[in-house]
Symmetry: C2
Subunit: 168 residues, 2 copies
DNA sequence: TATTGTTATACTCTATAACTATA
DNA sequence: TATAGTTATAGAGTATAACAATA
């Protein structure tokens, strides 16, 4: 509405480098995931979240959607694919009969383990080879507040109906 | 084949943060570009490259493909869209009759100017608001070598026929 | 009435392979 | 023979809107 802070040269460099690095990395990773385990990046993210981040191996659709940026219909689509492949199951949530709980299966965990070594290898090579461990640490520290800032003001299409305001 | 350097916790943090930040930022930017000027991110990249990075406003298809990660057919598709919209022209290259030179039109430059302020505003807000200018500088410095490293060993699908080896 | 999730549908983007033409 | 670009085609992913069911 006021001035538009037209980005100085350094900011431009950072922006373009960020987008290019992320794009190339995602591309490399998707190729590996597809070849090693016939998974798209999003499918991997969903499995990883269920299999690694969740103690129970289960999460509700809504919580997955919040984590994976999607539209709800997109998540339904991907969850359907994963279920068809036998990597997750979907069942009514215990506490809320509207909810659907997604649970990773043994086959899902196996698939994850199949894919994981190659995945980390790609990341080590492509992303971290030119970085010291101090660099990696600095990178994480720089990006963490940005991520939090972006999560806080979500212009994501995953929230067309607007999530409940205050709660977290 | 041997050990797979399984990524320490810091590297994982950095990797996930990078992917999430880039994903959210791209999403926000795409929305802005679509609304402000009916452009996809790639179309914007192509126009920006022609209109801002190139002195003449022209580049060959191959060089554009190298810069924009795509498969050649994808680039042909996007260039076709831009041409249909009157934002670029395509003509046979002067020096190499196999080549096609893409040139941004006045309408293309106008479109670029239409979109640019909002674009930079989104980036300022989403990416740089939580960062000091020293942070931005550090980020650029961290990512530049990674980008160069990734460019050097291109697992991009843009090179199915393998580019000429040494030349650059 | 608000929220959860699904469905139907349409569209954009990307990739593969076959093809033409020039170097 | 190798490179530049196009075409045809097919598939994956995403978004929108309408819908059903529960809170």
């Amino acid at each position: 509405m006021t001035a538009d802070s037209p980005l100085d040269a350094t900011q431009l460099r950072a922006y373009f480098a960020l987008m290019e690095v992320a794009g190339l990395l995602k591309h490399a990773v998707e190729q590996q995931l597809r070849e090693a385990g016939d998974l798209s990046f999003v499918q991997f993210q969903l499995l990883a979240r269920l299999g690694l981040n969740s103690a129970t191996g289960s999460e509700r659709m809504t919580d997955l959607a919040d984590g994976v940026v999607y539209s709800r219909s997109g998540l339904t689509y991907q969850a359907g694919l994963l279920e068809k492949a036998g990597l997750v199951t979907r069942s009514p949530s215990a506490d809320d009969d509207r909810g659907v709980t997604v649970t990773i299966t043994d086959a899902g965990r196996t698939r994850l383990e199949t894919v994981l070594p190659g995945h980390t290898e790609v990341i080590s090579h492509q992303l971290f080879e030119p970085l010291t461990s101090a660099d990696a640490s600095a990178l994480a520290d720089l990006l963490a507040p940005v991520r939090d800032h972006m999560r806080a003001a979500p212009p994501r299409s995953a929230a067309p109906r607007r999530r409940r305001a205050g709660a977290e």
